[in-house]
């Protein structure tokens, strides 16, 4: 079966019962995605499937044909960190880091839809992601700032695009 992971097509050998988490970690050696419970309670295994944050520990891999799967390994653009990743670093939102891949995926899924989430939006988006180290406060800060950054980047991109369109029109 072919899965589309981080914009690449990957062939995997499935018996049928494997979860996406097992396929990622055990078959593909993509250990960036963590798990702390394998029973959908901790959120450390969160990945993004078709723009939605999904728990890979309770998602059967063979149900994902044709879907766009993004893992923590596919978040940065080349050697540049994604604004969410950079913001987690800048705001000291990282301690032991075991929950962080899942946190970043949940945060990214939120911010991709909404650059200006309210406090309530953030708390609900992270409700499924446990963190034992930070008390969440610095993670909230990181998400807010990352949203701002994403908006700025998009505005910049749009204005570049506009300028180019203007140039063509002239």
């Amino acid at each position: 079966m072919i899965l589309k992971i981080n914009k690449k097509l990957v062939e995997v050998d499935l018996k049928g019962h494997e979860t996406l988490l097992e396929v990622l970690r055990d078959q593909l050696g993509m250990t960036g995605t963590k798990t702390s419970c394998t029973e959908s309670e901790c959120g450390a295994c969160t990945v993004i499937i078709n723009q939605k944050a999904v728990l890979s520990c309770i998602t059967l891999a063979n149900s994902l044909e044709g879907d766009e799967i993004t893992t923590i390994e596919g978040v940065s653009e080349g050697e540049n960190l994604h604004p969410v990743q950079q913001s987690f670093l800048d705001h000291g939102a990282v301690q032991c880091g075991f929950c962080i891949p899942g946190m970043i995926m949940s945060s990214k899924a939120l911010l991709d839809q909404n650059h200006r989430p309210t406090q309530e939006d953030i708390e609900y988006a992270l409700d499924g992601n446990l963190c034992r180290c930070t008390g969440y406060l610095k993670i909230f800060d990181a998400i807010r700032a990352a949203g701002q950054k994403m908006e700025e980047q998009e505005n910049k991109l749009n204005s570049v695009h506009l300028t180019q369109t203007n140039l063509i029109n002239h």
Partner: protein, 781 residues
């Protein structure tokens, strides 16, 4: 001067630099023991007792051994039956656990064997095929019952009391008589879990011919692991390599060995050197690792009308579970904390660490301080209330001071407790709020605490070692034995190394916690790393700097004492002139003429005196940290729900090496304290954990995270590196009491049992209403 020399240079100490390992973490590239994998690696599983207390009559592994895919099975026969424990030095008789038990099992989950197989299913199938015959023994699960004569005997200790700690100073009876107000209270703190997100996990590989072991372990104390492995497997220390990678949280739970660590090594040896990995499931993590001691705290104290604390007395009983672990020192630390906080001349508390057939209690963040913090700080509020004194005023009257020696001979050098209390009170508007928001069911409460910066718990010394290696291109490698388990010590130590060396933080790389490569360090516990490993690192950097300067001095025929490295420049201090850049100095060191390798080394062992546990006398730490915490709550009297509106935390941290990390530790500690206060509760039925998962053992979540205001008090400790003290634990200690004290301020009921659940609040409200009704009836009669 720095700006004149190099205006682009930023002092590494005191700056919130990003974590040295941060990029690996946010990209998923950081490797944890959880991620370690090798070709041909086998899956290990532990064989556990299903009984809380039983004699092992026989173990027959023959059926399991012939199951295809099974590569090795071990039982106690494959071990040397050597016991391991965590208080070898001070309480040798409490070293009571074997790698695999041979005669008896003492709790549900007690390890008696292990299997290595090609996959998890096969390993689990093999466990089912092992036939163990037991003679079931009567069991005891309640700590008070366990102490009674005639209770089932779990070890050889009389009345199941592993350790009695009598702490006795002054004349308590006389002081109580001379008191104007005396009161007794009993507090109960529940059993709770560390719940680090990375479970216990280890990979062991035995090199059969060279007789060497490598263990990749999610450990807070790799050198302690090494010591226990070498002892129990009869090997030389240097034939055992313990490698700590990124660690997904510890909180005291990964401070000591578990039987699984021995098992992977023994299994690997038995199957000819294939690597074996054991990963705990979340259920195993909750059921078979370690936990916070459930503790009963009975206190009887007396005060004068003017608020002078006359005497504190009482009894502490702790449910230790099946083995001693760090229990004895946990009890000692719980009791002795009071001396760091309050000036007290008359003190008598007997501590009992009791065996039961429950899972094993051990070290956890706060090391007994969570239980004593809740009990003592609640009790202190009640004492103040008894004489109608403001709890802050009462505390300010009785707290310890800088440069004082406590009754048990602790030397408190820097001590910002007074400032902590005052700053927290001002920030929280204490005076305007205390006792004045009852109409809103709102209240405000305080708790204070102190903590050590290290403690000689299992060895005669507790030194740390560091090496600072400077390469010819000017890049620096710091090797430290300290174990960063997520708190950010690699970052803080790198800042210390850079600062001392006079270079930028970006030059530093850091390798920590690999027993074959890095110098010795006792590990991450007792808030010791910044202070002790920080001092070792500073010394190593000083040494490296001297080596560089000696070359410059030789070349330029200058006196080395006149030279220094400031802001990446070698300068002559006598006339503030720049001699050369740091890079040029390194070129010189590694030049044709000199060829001097720069390898700085440093070790540090704090100037402490070991505690005499018969008297509790001794200066356990090289410095002490202090803090005050204030909680504001709102209680819903209909539902019993408590909402914490805000917490204020003023912390004497000596000097913030990395302010952002300091805040992170405080916020994380308080979050943990919120969990322990309101809902975290590890429950047992007949010795079995009944809520071993995140669905039924609730951790603090993003929804309802409490706003926290952090106030850093920098007292510049004379002994700390750049004045810094440790601070990873203290903020957890007063949280429950501050909240309980705030609840009483809000609605006038006193919660003496953790966790404080809505049903307990409602019950307390009802009891109070009935009491006042009776009083009303009486006064009307």
């Amino acid at each position: 001067m720095i700006t004149r020399i190099n205006k682009n240079y930023v002092n590494p100490v005191g700056k919130s630099v990003p974590r040295i390992d941060g990029k690996g973490i946010v990209t998923g590239q950081a490797k944890y023991a959880f991620d370690v994998s090798f070709p041909n690696m086998l899956v290990g599983k532990m064989l556990r007792s299903p009984h809380p207390h039983a004699r092992i009559l026989s173990i027959d592994t023959s059926k399991a051994e012939v199951l295809p895919g099974v590569k090795a099975i071990i039982t106690a026969k494959d071990t040397y039956l050597i016991k391991f424990g965590s208080n070898e030095y001070f309480f040798p008789h409490t070293v009571d656990q074997q790698a695999l038990e041979s005669d008896k099992v003492r709790y549900i989950g007690d390890e008696i064997g292990a299997v290595a197989a090609v996959d998890e299913e096969t390993a689990e199938e093999a466990l089912k095929l092992i036939d163990v015959q037991y003679e079931i023994l009567p069991a005891v699960f309640d700590m008070v019952e366990a102490m009674k004569p005639g209770a089932p005997q779990i070890h050889e200790a009389m009345n199941n009391i592993a350790v009695i700690l009598p702490v006795n100073f002054g004349n308590v009876d006389r002081a109580l008589k001379e008191s104007d107000y005396v009161r007794e209270d009993i507090f109960y703190s529940q059993a709770a879990a560390h719940a680090a997100l990375e479970p216990h996990v280890c990979v062991g590989q035995f090199e059969t011919f060279s007789n060497k072991i490598t263990l990749w372990s999610s450990s807070q104390a790799p050198f302690k692991c090494r010591e226990a492995l070498a002892k129990c497997l009869k090997m030389d220390l240097n034939d055992v390599r313990v490698i700590k990678l990124a660690v997904g949280g510890g909180f005291g739970g990964k401070l000591e060995m578990l039987p699984m660590d021995f098992a992977v090594c023994l299994l690997s040896r038995k199957c000819g050197g294939l690597p074996v990995k054991i990963t705990y499931s979340r259920e195993e993590e909750f059921s078979f690792s370690r936990r916070k001691h459930a503790m009963l705290y009975k206190l009887k104290s007396g005060i004068k009308k003017d608020g002078t604390l006359m005497a504190i007395s009482g009894e502490v009983i702790a449910d230790g579970g099946a083995y001693c672990s760090y229990g004895p020192t946990v009890i000692a630390a719980a009791i002795m904390r009071t001396f760091m906080v309050y000036k007290i001349k008359n003190f008598r508390i007997n501590g009992y660490r009791v065996y039961t057939n429950n899972p094993i209690s051990g070290a956890i963040r706060g090391f007994g301080g969570v239980q004593s913090g809740f009990s003592v700080e609640s009790h202190i509020d009640l004492l103040a209330q008894g004489i109608g004194m403001d709890p802050i005023e009462f505390r300010l009257k009785n707290i310890t001071e800088p440069n004082m020696v406590t009754i048990n001979k602790m030397y408190l050098s820097s001590n910002g407790l007074k400032e902590c209390i005052e700053k927290a009170a001002t920030a929280s508007n204490w005076k305007e709020k205390r006792g004045k928001q009852k109409h809103l069911c709102r209240g405000i409460g305080i708790g204070v605490a102190a903590d050590v910066m290290g403690s000689k718990m299992y060895k005669s010394h507790e030194s740390a070692g560091s090496i600072v290696k400077v390469e010819e291109d000017g890049s620096v490698y710091l090797f430290t034995g300290a174990a960063d388990t997520g708190q950010g010590s690699n970052t803080a130590l790198s800042q210390i190394a850079a600062h001392e060396l006079g270079v930028s933080y970006s030059r530093i790389r850091c390798k920590s916690g690999d027993t074959e490569i890095t110098p010795f360090d006792t590990g991450s516990f007792a808030s010791r790393v910044t202070f002790i490993s920080g001092n070792a690192t500073k010394r190593a950097a000083t040494d490296a700097k001297k080596q560089i300067l000696s070359v410059v001095a030789e070349e330029h025929k200058l006196n080395i004492d006149d030279l220094d490295i400031i802001a990446e420049q070698v300068v002559n201090k006598t006339n503030n002139s720049i001699i050369m850049t740091f890079d040029k100095a390194l070129d010189l060191c590694y030049s044709f003429n000199y060829g001097r390798q720069i390898i700085g080394r440093g070790s540090y062992n704090p100037k402490t005196t070991p505690v005499d546990f018969r008297t509790a006398e001794g200066n356990v730490s090289g410095s002490y940290g202090f803090e005050a915490q204030i909680a504001e709550v709102e209680v819903n009297k209909e539902t019993g729900q408590v909402k914490v509106l805000k917490m204020w935390d003023a912390h004497d941290i000596g000097k913030a090496i990395n302010p952002q990390s300091v805040e992170g530790q405080i916020e994380g500690s308080i979050a943990m304290g919120i969990g322990y206060t309101f809902y975290e509760d590890l429950k047992f039925r007949n010795g079995r954990v009944v809520n071993p998962n995140f669905a039924n053992y609730r951790l603090p979540k993003s929804i309802g995270a409490i706003p926290i205001e952090t106030i850093m008090i920098e007292t510049n400790d004379p002994e700390g590196p750049f004045g810094a003290k440790g601070m990873g634990e203290a903020s957890l200690l007063p949280t429950s009491a501050a909240i309980a004290n705030a609840i009483e301020d809000a609605i006038g009921v006193r919660m003496k049992e953790l966790p404080i659940t809505p049903d307990k609040i409602l019950k307390a409200i009802k009891e109070k209403e009935e009491l006042s009704k009776q009083g009303y009836e009486k006064s009307n009669a």
